[in-house]
């Protein structure tokens, strides 16, 4: 080569020697077509994979891919048409079988074809964006066989028929059903849904609608629920066996809607077996079932909750307005506690401790407990009874349990300050008469009240306990220093009460007998010697005395009486016979108290240490009293007329109420001032709202009362009305 030749020489492409034989494509295609036929006829064993693969490869390579593809489509379609004909020809029960078999065969053939045409699948098809072979096969199957209308409708009908048969209890071939549904799913989720699922759900809805109608006519609530549950479980099982898992949610929805939601109200209100009866009879299993089933349905639980709430409120209201019950407060409160226990049990065992139900229960209890204005008093009486005698011999944990339950009821009260008042009174009586069963129980209850309501509530109660203790110490000191002086005079035991802590009682007059007076003076001097600057006054209406009495035949008894009664009885040491007027004159005890104590001394059977003339039940001013020589009693120690806590009579109740109202006024005022000091300017509605919020842990203030208090504060120049806006209030420093 000369260096001058600067011709750019081309390197020619190495051209493969292409056999551009038009017949070549035809020939190759024929081979492949023949092969496909053989595959469909299960004769593939004679073929050579490699040869077919090579042929397909060559066709695609020589740009005959299009021909190959279209040829494939036509061949497959024609085969499938044959197949669908044969399936259609199948009779009755064999239809599904035949379909299944042909489907399996088709799948196998399809795979083989795909393997042969792998090269086309990998290169030609992505380039031309045609559907790959496998998908193509499925689509063709779907279009030609399944959607062939004769087959489609028959298929649907048979599948649904099978499901219906199984629902009525027959056994069907589940494996077959499984493969068919799987086939539908393989063909595409939309196929499955449209061809089968949609109709399945519709038919099921109809079926269950009918069935639920039947059931509800014939069974009661519990049975109906059992049946519904059974059907639900059945459906879930069916899905797991031969349906797509995504159908599970849909079919359970259908069952629930038809069987439960449409009949919800009817079920709950059913006569003799509805929700109310189940609660009353404590059918936990049924209730639990109802809860589970209704939980799946929207508003199901709301319905149960509402019915239960109204029922509880009604029962509660009934309990409260029943006059029989109200006669015995202890019994009444016990009933309340039992009611609460019952519902708690229902909620824990049947309703799985659902919080919303607990809340509903609490609100209903709160509602009806506060309907009766005497509830605080009754609860206090209940506690009193328990602490006096009910808790004797009960273990510590049980004591705690009972007290906790009482605390629960206490929480429901809106008027907690009324309870406080009564509790103070009862506690005072208990402490002074020494009747409390267990000091520990008392203290633990105080602790509970403190955690519930704060220190303020219990400060006075604790003060009472401290007083008792201090008095004990004082007595010890007194006896130690004056023990020798007393000799064989009466034994004195004094409790010194701080006026602020103990419930105030009006001071009553009473002339103590001379012997008592002497020792009382000694104590007074002793006490004032140690604590100067204090004032002592004897509370004669709260004391007790033990007297040794000798009767006619010489029988001795020890009488435990109140201080008043002691004064009266001591008079009989000097005289055998006294008239009412004389007694009153000497002792100076107030009339009503005197009458009461004389009544218990003379009129009560078995304790009539005095005889009255005339022997009437009531004490008149003209009665005379004689010492009863013939008094007998089985016991050596006789207790007469102790001051036990009782239900207050109406006028006493009114009185207490009044006092409570009086106490509330300064509290409201304090709250108002507190709020205004912080806010400076506030309008009327907001003040009322804030005051209510602050005080609601103790009691519910009446808006009218609040208004009155505001006006009184305005008068006293703590607040002033705004000049421009009548509703606005301003704080005056």
């Amino acid at each position: 080569m000369s260096a001058q030749k600067k011709k750019a020489f081309q390197i020619e492409e190495f051209k493969h020697r292409v056999v551009v034989d038009p017949k070549y494509a035809e020939k190759t295609w024929k081979i492949l077509e023949h092969a496909i036929h053989e595959i469909y006829n299960h004769n593939a064993s004679g073929l050579s994979f490699e040869e077919l693969y090579r042929n397909a490869y060559n066709m695609v390579l020589h740009k005959f891919g299009e021909k190959l593809y279209s040829g494939l489509v036509t061949t497959m379609t024609s085969h499938l048409k044959e197949i669908s004909n044969s399936i259609e020809a199948a009779q009755g029960g064999l239809f599904l079988d035949e379909l299944n078999r042909k489907w399996a065969e088709h799948n196998k053939a399809l795979q083989m074809i795909r393997d042969i045409l792998m090269y086309m699948d990998r290169t030609f098809i992505p380039n031309t964006h045609k559907t790959p072979v496998h998908e193509l096969g499925l689509n063709l199957w779907r279009d030609v066989v399944i959607h062939f209308h004769a087959i489609q409708s028959r298929l649907q009908a048979i599948l649904l028929e099978n499901v219906r048969r199984e629902r009525s209890g027959e056994v069907i071939d589940r494996g077959l059903m499984r493969s068919i549904t799987k086939m539908l799913m393989d063909l595409g989720p939309s196929v499955y849904q449209d061809d089968f699922e949609k109709h399945f759900l519709e038919v099921s809805a109809d079926f269950y609608r009918l069935e639920s109608q039947e059931f509800i006519e014939s069974c009661d609530c519990g049975e109906y629920l059992k049946k519904a549950e059974r059907r639900l479980n059945e459906e879930i099982e069916r899905v797991s066996h031969y349906l797509d898992t995504r159908s599970e949610v849909k079919i359970t929805n259908v069952v629930e809607t038809e069987m439960i939601e449409s009949h919800m109200h009817r079920l709950v209100q059913m006569e003799n077996s509805g929700l109310i009866n189940m609660i009353v009879d404590e059918k936990f299993e049924d209730l639990g079932r109802m809860y589970c089933l209704f939980r799946q349905v929207s508003n199901g639980l709301v319905l149960i909750r509402d019915v239960m709430t109204s029922f509880i409120r009604d029962t509660g209201k009934q309990l409260l307005t029943d006059p029989e019950r109200l006669k015995d407060p202890v019994d009444f409160v016990q009933h309340l506690l039992d009611l609460k226990d019952k519902y708690d049990k229902i909620i824990t065992s049947a309703f799985r401790n659902d919080k919303t139900f607990q809340n509903a229960l609490n609100s209903s209890f709160e509602y009806f407990i506060n309907l009766n204005s005497r509830s605080p008093e009754f609860i206090s009486l209940f506690v009193d009874d328990k602490l006096r005698k009910g808790l004797r011999g009960v273990t510590e944990e049980d004591v705690e349990l009972v007290l906790d339950k009482v605390m629960m009821l206490f929480r429901y009260l809106q008027e907690k300050d009324v309870f406080e008042k009564y509790y103070k009174q009862h506690l005072a009586k208990r402490l002074l008469s020494g009747k409390s069963v267990s000091d520990d129980a008392e203290r633990s209850l105080i602790v509970k009240l403190k955690t519930e309501c704060g220190y303020q509530f219990t400060s006075k109660l604790e003060g009472m306990f401290t007083d008792m203790k201090t008095s004990q110490d004082t007595m010890q000191g007194f006896h130690a220093s004056h023990g020798s002086d007393i000799g064989d005079g009466p034994m004195l035991s004094v409790q010194v009460l701080t006026t602020g802590s103990w419930p105030t009682q009006p001071i009553t007059t009473c002339n103590l007998p001379a012997e008592i007076l002497g020792i009382c003076e000694k104590f007074r001097n002793y006490y004032l010697g140690t604590h100067t600057g204090r004032r002592l006054s004897w509370q004669t209406n709260m004391g007790t005395a033990d007297l040794k009495a000798t009767f006619g035949k010489g029988q001795k008894h020890e009488l435990n009486v109140s201080t008043y009664q002691m004064c009266v009885l001591m008079l009989f040491n000097d005289a055998d016979r006294l008239s009412y007027k004389e007694i009153e004159q000497v002792t100076e005890i107030p009339t009503s108290d005197l009458k009461r104590c004389l009544q218990s001394l003379a009129c009560v059977k078995g304790k009539n240490v005095l005889r009255k003339e005339p022997m009437s039940k009531d004490i008149a001013d003209t009665d005379t009293f004689l010492f009863n020589d013939k008094y007998t009693s089985k016991f050596f120690k006789v207790k007469i007329g102790t001051v036990a806590a009782q239900r207050e009579s109406e006028p006493e109740n009114q009185e207490t109420r009044q006092r409570v109202e009086e106490d509330r006024k300064p509290q409201i005022e304090a709250a108002i001032v507190r709020i205004m000091k912080a806010r400076r300017v506030l309008d009327h509605n907001n003040i009322v709202a804030e005051v209510t919020k602050q005080l609601q842990s103790r009691f519910l203030p009446n808006p009218v009362v609040i208004k009155k208090r505001i006006e009184s504060l305005i008068e006293r120049e703590f607040l002033e009305r705004d000049k421009g806006d009548r509703k606005l209030y301003r704080y005056l420093a």
């Binding site: 490699e50 040869e51 090579r54 393997d115």
Partner: protein
């Protein structure tokens, strides 16, 4: 003849190459040929003919199979 799972690859000029099945499976095509559900001749006899591939090429291919196997582990 080794009795372990082997296949025979036959070239255009009738050279026979006996290799392990694992090695042959490296090629998708051969794998499909051998595992196709249909009753093709290849599956039954355990040998594949390549009438368009020469012996030299086929030899290189077999060497590739073993190389691929070695480095894929």
């Amino acid at each position: 003849m080794k009795r372990k799972d082997t296949v025979k690859l036959i070239s255009a000029d009738e050279m026979e190459f006996v290799i392990d099945k694992d090695a042959a499976m490296v090629s998708q095509t051969i794998r499909n040929m051998l595992t196709s559900p249909g009753g093709f001749a290849e599956t039954e006899l355990g040998e594949v003919t390549f009438p368009e591939i020469s012996a030299v090429i086929l030899e290189k291919i077999c060497q590739y199979f073993y190389w691929a196997l070695q480095y894929s582990r």
